[in-house]
């Protein structure tokens, strides 16, 4: 089968590339693990190693300021040989994680729910890229490769998010619930993907079985399922670490931003410069803002749930407390699913140019600030602004395209005409 051969080539090439980089540049992973653009306090592999060390020496990793990642990662990685001496196993794990994510992404593309959902089918539905192409877009995206090399745990989160999407688009309830609750357990913010993906799942199920199940019972059962699984995970971690301290150390840090290490996001510098009396207030505002997109998008675009989920990942990549290029990589590799919207997008060039420039200038300015000492924090801060702006423009533009696309279906006579928003 040609397609399979080509897929195998694709995945094999990606794996080979990563393993090659791992072996040719042994210093690269630790270098990248130290880059603020790639690994944040909540995903850094070096901090995971520290956590592992404390865990294996019976010191609670959560009774300290360094380790902010999920407890279940500890037993998982403690099975592997010590990465500082025998890194191969760990590297292999991360390569496999990337391949699995790509596979899930390919499944999403295969299902074709991007352009044709139960209640909506785009007028440009034939304009789409093959699933292999989209998987390749993920696998060979330099951001993804860097994340994999840095062995940042956000790769795992991305894997679970993509799996959840794939399962939802295939209508597999249980695996979907599992995957999503794992993603939420690791990263917390993916929980916001639940509603749109639930709709997606519902559509898929309805498409499968001719009779649509009752929406209420469906929602309730799945919500209960999600809470049950997540609760199970939390209890398991509590049993594992022997206390509930990990809540404060993992989700607490995400919520309260006690660690102000720079990253590509908007939060860190804002809260460095924030006046102490207003800190809590603005934390609330920022979280409210980040969460507010979900309901709006879900309601307005309930006909295209997959697009809502994709857009949400884009919003996460900009507005969560500890974003990294891994989140951007996830979004940027989901966008090609909506090839049929590209013709309708308007500012993509500006946005992508901004993102590209930012990814070149960011490291340069960070060097000037931290090592050369000749630039100050504002240099890097300015670049994070540009980066966020670029991404948010892409998000907004794709949203416009999607709405315009819907309009073309609702009112074919307007197709190709200029429209206004009132």
């Amino acid at each position: 089968m040609a397609v399979d051969k080509q897929k195998a080539l694709l995945f094999g090439g990606a794996a080979a590339l990563r393993l090659l980089l791992f072996t040719v540049f042994p210093g690269l992973p630790s270098l990248l693990a130290g880059r603020v653009e790639v690994s944040t306090p909540v995903t850094s592999f070096k901090r995971l190693q520290e956590g592992l060390f404390l865990y294996t020496h019976n010191v609670s990793p959560y009774d300290g300021g360094l380790y902010h990642q999920a407890p279940l990662l500890l037993p998982l990685f403690s099975l592997l040989p010590n990465p500082s001496h025998h890194p191969f196993a760990t590297n292999l794990v991360f390569v496999v994680v990337d391949l699995l994510s790509a596979y899930a992404l390919a499944q999403v593309a295969q299902s074709g729910t991007a352009a044709v959902s139960r209640l909506f089918s785009s007028s440009r539905r034939d304009l789409r890229w093959s699933s292999a192409a989209i998987a390749a877009g993920f696998l060979y995206n330099p951001f993804t490769v860097l994340t994999c090399l840095a062995r940042s745990t956000s790769a795992l989160t991305n894997l679970f998010i993509l799996t959840a999407m794939a399962k939802a688009s295939q209508g597999a309830s249980i695996t979907f619930t599992l995957a999503l609750s794992f993603a939420a357990y690791l990263g917390m913010h993916p929980i916001l993907l639940f509603p749109p993906l639930l709709i997606l799942l519902y559509d898929a199920r309805a498409a499968k079985s001719k009779t649509a199940p009752s929406a209420w019972s469906f929602t309730i059962t799945h919500t209960l399922g999600l809470t049950a699984v997540s609760g199970g995970l939390l209890v398991a971690s509590a049993l594992l670490t022997g206390s509930w301290d990990f809540l404060a150390a993992t989700y607490g840090v995400r919520l309260l931003l006690s660690d102000l290490t720079p990253n590509v996001g908007l939060w860190w510098y804002f809260f460095i410069e924030m006046f102490d009396s207003f800190r809590e207030f603005f934390l609330g505002v920022f979280w409210l803002h980040a969460a507010s997109y979900m309901p709006g998008l879900t309601i307005r675009l309930h006909k295209q749930p997959l697009f809502v989920a994709c857009t949400l990942t884009g919003i996460f990549a900009v507005f969560i407390p500890y974003p990294s290029i891994a989140d951007a990589a996830l979004y940027l590799s989901l966008v090609p699913l909506f090839r049929h919207l590209f013709p309708l997008m308007r500012y993509t060039f500006l946005a992508s140019a901004a993102v590209l420039y930012a990814s070149f200038l960011g490291p340069a300015f960070y060097h000037l600030w931290i090592y050369a000492g000749s630039g100050n924090a504002n240099f890097f801060y300015a670049i994070t602004l540009v980066w966020s702006l670029g991404l948010s423009v892409i998000v907004g533009d794709s949203l416009f395209a999607a709405l315009r696309d819907e309009l073309d279906v609702e009112r074919p006579e307007l197709k190709g005409k200029e429209v206004r928003r009132i």
Binding site: M274, H289, Y371, R421
Partner: protein
């Protein structure tokens, strides 16, 4: 031979003579190489436990006594230190380091309390009270600077109810010790620096010393047979003076170049001429007198010392051949110990006393015993993101291994990675670490506390390294001189074996470190708030604008033609209308 008696033993030897008496003071002088002079003052006063509890103070100062009672402090150790002890040249530290602290202020105490919380509360009262008493910012020792050492310290006194005792330890490496700390220190003495050896203590000279440390130690001492206890308070000042520097008169402190005829030239050099002079350092001991070096005369003995025959207040430890002349009107007595390497003097009452040592060429010297360990610590790497600490500890002894405890107390914003901790000895491959105690830091709540028990085999060097990450702080958490960096407290090393002669123990402290942190721009909180909010507003506005509005065809919109042209047309029309009206 006796002349190789360690400085510590000498001082102990002299001290022992009058341990029983209620108040006792003693000054031990010892010339060190490189024309330096070690002067270690020691004042010891006793108060019986009963009278202490009845608040009936004789020698122990009331101000301090009441603080101790109020804070339920059983044993107190307070240190003010400046400068470095040069172990390579000067050998063992005075009191084997047990009476000195790290650069700045160091404080540790055993506090009686039922619970940790209560202990900490009392600790805070203690620090606040002491900072008032000593004009030092000891009250800045908060939770982030306080640790509870496990192995590094053990009580010097005899305590009854040990279980309820809590040891707390805090340091202020950045505290600048100066005269304002000396004055209250002197005030605590019975003779208040008016008479006795304390009359020599003068801020200008003390803080011009290359190394100086002031210590206060309070501990209960119990007599084993009749079980009645007394509170012993010990104040000590150790200073290493550069003789040449401190002999300079106060009115002319500037080290102007000497006139040519006053420097001795090496005439053996071929090029030696009236305008060319290779300075010869004549291998002679410099001459000095107490008054020259301390800038004040020694005003007789402190009358509060009850007069017994063995109260020797001033001792000097030199080779016997060194001539020491006495200049005094009053009657004094000289006694010699340790085959004449130690000469002690009973001071006259009410009359000045001065030692005069002429410049002299020496044939014999005192051989100084090496310290048990040499320790140096430094930060490797550059940049304000991360780095690694490296401690190099050397065991000079060729025969016996040294076991010691290494204590690090790091600020919370310096985040060590324990999994990168490596300790290796050059002579053997097995890990020197025998025991580890680690309490990781919690952001803004407590600092890192690391204690390692290690063993160095004879004549080998131990290298200890670990990586750390530097946190970036909120802009309100930076001091005014943010770009200087933050001070990291010295590491404390306690030698376990070979054992110390008494309960005071053997201590070595490294120098403190300077930790530069990444700094934000302090000038623009408003700009940052505005810019970030703008970006968020753009994203939010753009998206919700799309979500809430509804599309209609351009031709269905009742307004004028859109686009640039349309807008312009509208403007022009508006202006026309205005003009028309006018």
């Amino acid at each position: 031979m006796l002349s190789s008696l360690s400085l510590f033993l000498l001082s102990a030897f002299v001290a022992l003579a009058s341990a029983a008496s209620d108040y006792h003071e003693q000054l031990l002088l010892r010339p060190l190489p490189q024309d330096t002079l070690l002067a270690s003052f020691n004042f010891r006063s006793n108060e019986s436990q009963t009278s202490f509890e009845q608040q009936n103070f004789r020698y122990v100062p009331r101000s301090l006594g009441q603080i101790l009672q109020h804070a339920h402090t059983q044993e107190l150790h307070l240190r003010f230190s400046v400068g470095r002890w040069d172990a390579e040249n000067w050998g063992q530290r005075p009191w084997q380091g047990s009476r000195e602290g790290g650069t700045g202020v160091e404080l540790w105490a055993w506090i009686e309390a039922e619970s940790e919380e209560q202990a900490f509360a009392r600790w805070l009262t203690l620090t606040n009270a002491l900072s008032g008493l000593f004009c030092a910012s000891i009250n800045f020792i908060d939770a982030t600077k306080t640790i509870r050492p496990v192995m590094a310290f053990s009580p010097e006194g005899d305590h009854r109810n040990a279980p309820n005792l809590h040891l707390l330890h805090g340091t202020l490496p950045h505290e600048v010790v100066c005269t304002e700390n000396l004055t209250p220190f002197l005030k605590l003495l019975p003779c208040k620096g008016k008479a006795g050896i304390s009359s020599l203590l003068d801020g200008h000279k003390l803080f011009d010393a290359s190394f100086q440390t002031m210590a206060i130690d309070v501990r209960p001492v119990c007599n084993l047979d009749d079980g009645n206890c007394s509170l012993e308070m010990e104040q000590s000042v150790d200073m290493v003076l550069d003789i040449a520097r401190s002999k300079r008169p106060r009115d002319n402190p500037i080290p102007r170049p000497l006139p040519v005829d006053q420097i001795e030239c090496d005439s053996s050099k071929g090029y030696n001429a009236h305008d060319t002079c290779f300075p010869l350092n004549k291998g002679t001991e410099p001459g000095w007198t107490l008054e020259e070096v301390f800038g004040k005369p020694l005003r007789g003995s402190c009358p509060l010392i009850e007069d017994s025959d063995d109260t020797n207040s001033v001792c000097i430890n030199t080779p016997p051949e060194r001539t020491v002349d006495i200049k005094s009107d009053g009657e004094f007595r000289e006694t010699k110990f340790a085959s004449d390497t130690l000469r002690c003097y009973k001071l006259p009452v009410g009359a000045d006393f001065d030692l005069v040592l002429p410049e002299q060429k020496m044939t014999t010297g005192l051989n100084r015993p090496d310290p048990q360990l040499f320790a140096a610590r430094s930060i490797n790497g550059h940049g304000q993101e991360r780095g690694s600490t490296q401690a190099i500890i050397k065991n000079p002894s060729t025969t016996e291994p040294v076991e010691f405890v290494y204590l690090e107390s790091l600020p919370w914003f310096m985040k060590p990675y324990l999994h990168t901790l490596r300790a290796h000895v050059d002579s053997s491959s097995e890990s020197p670490i025998k025991e580890t105690y680690y309490r990781p830091a919690l952001d803004r709540h407590r600092g890192t506390h690391l204690e390692l028990r290690m063993v160095i085999p004879p004549s080998s060097t131990l290298t200890l390294t670990y990586e750390f990450e530097k946190a970036i702080l909120r802009y309100t958490e930076y001091p005014p001189d943010a770009n200087r960096g933050f001070d990291v407290a010295p590491a404390v090393i306690r030698v376990l074996s070979p054992q110390a002669a008494d309960k005071q123990g053997i201590y070595i402290r490294t120098t403190s470190l300077l930790l530069p942190l990444p700094t934000p721009d302090f000038s623009m909180p408003y700009n940052v708030i505005i810019l970030t909010s703008t970006v968020m507003a753009l994203g939010f506005g753009n998206i919700f604008n799309l979500l809430v509005r509804r599309f209609v065809g351009a031709d269905e919109v009742p307004t004028t033609a859109g686009g640039l042209k349309g807008i312009l047309q509208a403007k022009v029309a508006g202006i026309k209308a205005k003009l028309g009206r006018a």
